[in-house]
């Protein structure tokens, strides 16, 4: 399925913006994984 292209981008430097977004995305995934792990440990240890 094809997806429409956004009307126009205001990012200025698409490559560096994309890299920054990927880095942030990776960090978000790591933080979520850690948060879920802590909650899981809480349940296993005390639940």
């Amino acid at each position: 399925m094809r997806v429409r292209e956004p009307p126009h981008s205001t990012t200025g430097k698409p490559q560096s913006a994309r890299n920054r977004f990927r880095r942030t995305l990776l960090r978000v995934l790591v933080v979520q994984a850690v948060a879920l792990l802590v909650l899981w440990l809480l349940q296993v240890r005390y639940g």
Partner: protein, 562 residues
């Protein structure tokens, strides 16, 4: 409440209004008033998004839910990070790049005016009422706790909010949100610290005691569409809900339209993705620790002081009898909780299990007595007890040190104000841009629209206050409106998803929206019955499916002509 606490609350209210009005600089055009001239840095937008989503209900109701039901509610937010990532690469570039004022304006460019007007109208309908209910929730609690008339407690929160939102526009809303968010986090962390210091057992034992009642059971992997809070409903249903909320609800979209660039708008959303689950877990943990605290400190049978007074007057004998039973149950439960802590020190695994079993039995007994008291309160007052909403206010006012109680009450006000301000600002934007300018006065001057926008903000503010004051008597009506709101949340998301597919056409989107709402109505009132988190999935999938099929059918019938 102690005068020093009142002083802190008063000082906070004054600061918010002065700071909000001070931020009105540069809002002499509607682009500045509604979008802060698209000039806000990502961290301001990010904190504003988080503050908008965190309402007084979160600080009062969710902490209370942590105390009575435990941590499992956090599963509701499991889909949020995924939704933010999806939005960052899909809708955000479309909406920010289109230079629109409202999300629905984009739908007219993509489809037609009637799709835009219908979606915007549905937004005004649901958000108009929800602004009132968001204001009503803390208003009702403050009214009962402080013993003041509901009109005054609503006015205390509503009037300053309307004032700075009307004068300063989105710029004031966003910058005030930043300070409010900081205040909320500081208050929550301070309460956790105070709780840990005041508990008579160490934190490890406190968690062990809470865990024995199942309050630390976060994950439920059962796949039951009738269960609201499970891992799967949170991850799948929650993702669709958050996609709808952050992707199509003007109160959220308007936040990231104020960002300097697409990249900053994306990053601001990812900030929520970072912190939402840890923050919600912290909020629920406060509630869990308050539950442990009241195992060792006597608590009232009913936390709602207004209901307690009415029950005591109406049926003193029955209430005093329940109080005596509760006092006895408290003593047994207190001893059992201490036994759980002591058993761990012995290192005997069997003793630990036996102590936990005994504690659970006494907790069930205490819960049973409280259940009877709640039923009595409902019979006497004729109102649902909602006692869970009074657990934290009672704890804050009676157990926290002077000063910190004032900070927490100010934080609850901040949470309410940040949500209401965003709603008023977005309601005004949709009213002026999608209806007034689009249909009635399309070629007026900028200053004319600015004046109308300020009037619209004030009118929506007054409407929210009136709804809030009558919320108790309008209870069933508000529930109907909220249910109606859930019909189209996922369906509107479906229309936006269709907008990103190249072949979709206006009739497909419009008919798809109506069919999607019908599908959600069917699963709400008819069969198969599913929990509300799944409604958004049903709505969005139906709209996309109907829209794609209809668009293809139209293409094939119109192709020979073209």
């Amino acid at each position: 409440m102690h005068p020093i606490n009142w002083l802190i609350v008063g000082g906070y209210l004054l600061y918010v209004v002065v700071d909000g009005v001070r931020r009105s600089k540069g809002t002499d055009r509607i682009e500045g008033y509604f979008l802060a001239n698209r000039s806000l840095p990502w961290w301001v937008v990010g904190l504003s998004v988080m503050a908008t989503q965190l309402s007084a209900v979160t600080l009062i109701g969710t902490t209370g839910q942590g105390a009575t039901d435990g941590m499992r509610f956090v599963q509701f937010y499991f889909g949020l990070p995924l939704a933010m990532v999806i939005l960052g690469v899909t809708l955000v570039p479309f909406l920010h790049g289109s230079k629109v004022f409202t999300a629905y304006e984009y739908l007219e460019r993509r489809f037609d005016a009637k799709t835009r007007s219908l979606t915007s109208f549905l937004f005004l309908l649901s958000r108009g009422m929800s602004a009132g209910t968001i204001l009503a929730a803390p208003g009702v609690v403050f009214s009962a706790v402080f013993g003041v008339d509901l009109v005054w407690s609503v006015a205390l929160i509503g009037v300053p909010t309307v004032l700075y939102t009307m004068v300063g526009g989105v710029q004031a809303v966003a910058w005030v949100d930043v300070k409010q968010m900081v205040l909320i986090v500081v208050a929550l962390v301070a309460v956790v610290v105070v709780l840990l210091v005041q508990l008579p057992v160490d934190p490890d034992d406190a968690l062990r005691i809470a865990g024995a009642t199942g309050r630390l059971d976060v994950f439920d992997f059962s796949f039951d569409v009738n269960q609201t809070y499970t891992f799967w409903s949170g991850l799948i249903g929650g993702t669709f809900l958050m996609l709808s909320y952050f992707g199509t609800d003007q109160s959220q979209v308007q936040r990231y339209l104020t960002a300097r660039s697409v990249d900053e708008a994306r990053t601001s959303l990812l900030m929520s993705a970072y912190w939402k689950i840890p923050l919600q877990a912290l909020v629920l943990l406060v509630g869990v620790l308050v539950f442990v605290y009241y195992l060792f400190q006597p608590s009232p049978l009913l936390f709602n002081p207004a209901h307690e007074a009415r029950v005591r007057t109406a049926d003193a004998t029955a209430y005093e009898s329940l109080e005596a039973q509760y006092a006895e149950a408290f003593r047994s439960r207190n001893a059992a909780a201490r036994a759980v802590a002591d058993a761990r020190e012995t290192g005997d695994a069997l003793a630990v299990v036996a102590a936990a079993d005994a504690f659970r039995a006494t907790e069930a007994e205490a819960r049973g007595v409280r259940g009877e008291a709640l039923a009595l309160a409902e019979r006497v007052t004729g109102e649902p007890s909602q006692d869970v909403n009074y657990v934290i206010p009672r704890f804050v006012l009676h157990e926290l040190p002077i000063g910190l109680a004032g900070i927490f009450i100010a934080a609850v006000m901040a949470a309410a104000m940040s949500s209401i301000a965003a709603e008023l600002n977005s309601l005004s934007t949709a009213t002026v841009i999608d209806f007034y300018r689009r249909w009635f006065r399309p070629s007026e001057s900028d200053s004319h629209y600015l004046t109308v926008s300020k009037v619209a903000t004030a009118v929506w503010g007054v409407f929210a206050c009136v709804v809030a004051v009558y919320a108790a008597t309008l209870g069933s009506l508000i529930e109907v409106v909220n249910r109606f709101g859930s019909f189209f949340y996922g369906s509107i998301l479906g229309v936006f998803l269709l907008a990103m597919l190249p072949g979709s056409r206006a009739p497909g989107a419009f008919v798809g929206l109506l069919v999607g709402m019908g599908a959600v109505a069917t699963v709400t009132f008819g069969a198969p019955s599913v929990s509300f988190l799944w409604h958004n999935v049903v709505g969005a999938v139906t709209v996309v499916a109907v829209g794609v099929i209809l668009s293809r059918a139209l293409r094939s019938t119109t192709a020979p002509l073209s």
